[in-house]
C-alpha cells in the first residue's frame, strides 16, 4: 500500500492519500492525474487497463485501486 501512496504522491506531491474517501471529489486528483496514474500503474505492475476501466470510480481511493489491481492478478 505504501508503494501505491508513493506512486500517487509522485503525481500529486504533498497530498494525504491514505484514508481519503474519494480522491476526485475531494479535489486531490483530476482527470489528467487519472491518466498519469493509469500510466504509472501499468508501468509499475505490468498490467493493462482497458478503455472502459479508465474511469474515476476504479481509482477513487486506495481500496478501489487495490481491487482493480487484484482483478489483474496484482495483490498489494
Amino acid at each position: 500500500m505504501d508503494e501505491l501512496i508513493a506512486i500517487l504522491n509522485e503525481i500529486r506531491p504533498g497530498q494525504k492519500f491514505s484514508g481519503a474517501e474519494n480522491f476526485f471529489d475531494q479535489g486531490m486528483l483530476d482527470s489528467l492525474d487519472l491518466t498519469a496514474l493509469v500510466a504509472a500503474l501499468e508501468s509499475r505492475y505490468e498490467v493493462f487497463m482497458d478503455v472502459d476501466e479508465i474511469v474515476a470510480d476504479n481509482f477513487c481511493n486506495l481500496a478501489a485501486i487495490k481491487t482493480l489491481l487484484a482483478r489483474k492478478g496484482v495483490n498489494l
Partner: protein, 573 residues
Amino acid sequence: MSDLQNETGARRVLLVGDTTLDPLGRLLERGQETPQLRTSAAPYGQVYQILLDENHPAWSFRPEILTVWTAPDLTLPSVGKLLRFEFESAVAVYDAALREAEQFADAVLRAAPRVGLVFVPTWILPNHERWIQTLTWRKDIGLANLLAKANLILAEKFAAQQNIVLLDAGYWQASLGRPAHDPRMYAVAKILYSQSFFEKAAAEMKAVLRGSLGQGKKVIVCDLDNTLWRGVAGDDGADNIKLGAPDPVGECFHAFQTVLKGMRSRGILLAICSKNDETFALSVIDEHPAMVLRKSDFVAWRINWKDKAENLLALGEELNLGLDSFVFLDDSPQERDQIRRVLPQVYTPDLPKSPSDLAPFLASLSCFETASLGEEDFERTAMYQAERGRKEVIDLSGDVENWLASLQIKVHAARLRRESLARAAQLLNKTNQFNLSLRRLDEKSFWDWAEGSGNAAYTFHVSDRFGDFGLTGLASLSFADTEAQIVDFVMSCRVMGKKVEEALLGFVLAQARAAGADRVLAPPVDGPRNGPAKDFFAAKFLNDEGAVIDPARVGIPSQISLREESLEPESVF
C-alpha cells in the same frame, strides 16, 4: 524577447498542441537531469490562436522555450481527408495539404521571436495507419509522400530561423519499438501519444536542450581489452584477439570501432584508459590489420597499471576539459562501479553484454548532442594532437618564456560577423572554464545583442607554428557614457596557458579606450567552474573590490603577434 541565458533557475517551456500535452509537461519537469524545466500546457486545440496572437493568455507564462507539437491529420485538415479518402480529387487534397503545411510553418515563424528556442516535432502518423501501400509513396497523391513533403516544407521554412529546432519524431517512433500512439488515452483525455512515447520525446528534448546549452559530452575514454576487441592482447597475443572478419565476434568489435571513428570525425575526442603495457598496446593499435582506430585517432591515453580514476583525472587535466564532459566505456563492471563511485560526474554507462549490441548502443547515445556542427568539430582531433606536439616541446626546452616565443602565436581579432556567428555562439554556450560572465545566448539572440546600440562583439582566431586553433576567443563590450563593460570574455580551454588571454584583454581594453571609455569594468559571475577566468581577472583589477580594470596591469605579451582585421560592423548591403 526571452532567451535561455538565466543560468540557475528552471527554464520555462510552453507546450502548444492540438492534443493534450500535459503528460509531456510532467515528464519534462520530473527527474534530476539538467536542465531543470517548468512547463505550462496551453489548452489543446488553440495552436493558431496562440501562435498568431502575442496577447493570448498562454504567453503570460513568459516561456523561454516553446514546443509546438501537432498531429498532421488534425492541424492539416486535408491530410485527414486524404487519410480517410474524403475527396473527389486526391491531387487537389494533396495540394491543399501542402498549403496548410506552409500556413502552419508561417504561424510558427511568427511566434518564434517571442522565445529563445522553439521545438517542433515532425509530423507522424500512427503505425496502425496502413493506408494503401501500393500508392502511399506515389507522387502528388500518396499519404507517405505527402507527409514527407509536408515535413520538408517545415525544414525549408524554418531554415532561416536559427532558434527553431525541428525534432525528428519519426526517429523517436522508429526507435521506440512500441506503438507511439495510444487510442485508449485519446478516447479518455485526448492524449494522442503513449506514455513511453512521451518519455522518449521528453528525453530527446532534454538531450537537445543540453546540446544547445553546451552540456553535451565531448570525450569518449575507452578501455582496450574486451572493449575495443575481444580478448586480452597481453595474455592471448596480438594475433589471437578477435577483431574484424571472418570471426562474427570480431566483426562486432570492428563495427563498434567504426561507430567510434565516426564520433571522432564529428568532433568527439577519443582517449584510452587501459591497464596494459603502453608500448605493446600502442603497437597492437597501430599494427593489427583489422583495427579501425589507430593511434592518430586518439588525442590522449593513459595505458599503465594505475588506478583508472586517477588516470581519468590525469586525462581531464591533459585535455583541459571537465570530467563532466567525459564518457567512460569499459567492459568491466568492477571498473565501471569504481568510476561511478569516485567520479560520478563521468558518464559511465553499462555496456551491452552481447558484442553485436555494442555498435548500436553507442550509436544510439543521446549525450553527444550539439547545437551545430562546423569546421572546428571536424578538425578537433588534429588540433588536440598538435597540442601534444607543443607539450613535448616544452618538456624538452623547460623554459616557459622561450617555449612561448618558439610557438610563434598569432591572434587575429575581428568584429563578430555572420559567417563566424555559429562558432562564436558555440564557444559562448559551451565554454565553462574561461568564461567571465557565463552568459548563454542562442545565435540569433547573440547577434541581435551585438548589433544593438552601444554593444560590440569581437572574435579571436588563434594559430601557432604547430597549427590552427580556429576561432577560440570571444569578447564583447557594452558602452555607456565614458564607461565600458566587458560583457563576455570567453576563451576555449584549447588555448589556455599560452598568455593568449593577456593579448585578448589588451585588445579589448584598447577598443574600449578608442571608443572613449576611461573606465572599463569586468564584473565576474561566480560560476561553479569558471575559476580560471575569475582568477585571471582578479589579478587585473584596480583594487580588491574588483570589477574595474587597471590598465597598468594589462598588456599584449611580446611573444604574441596580434593582428586586427575589419573591425567595422558588417554592412547590411
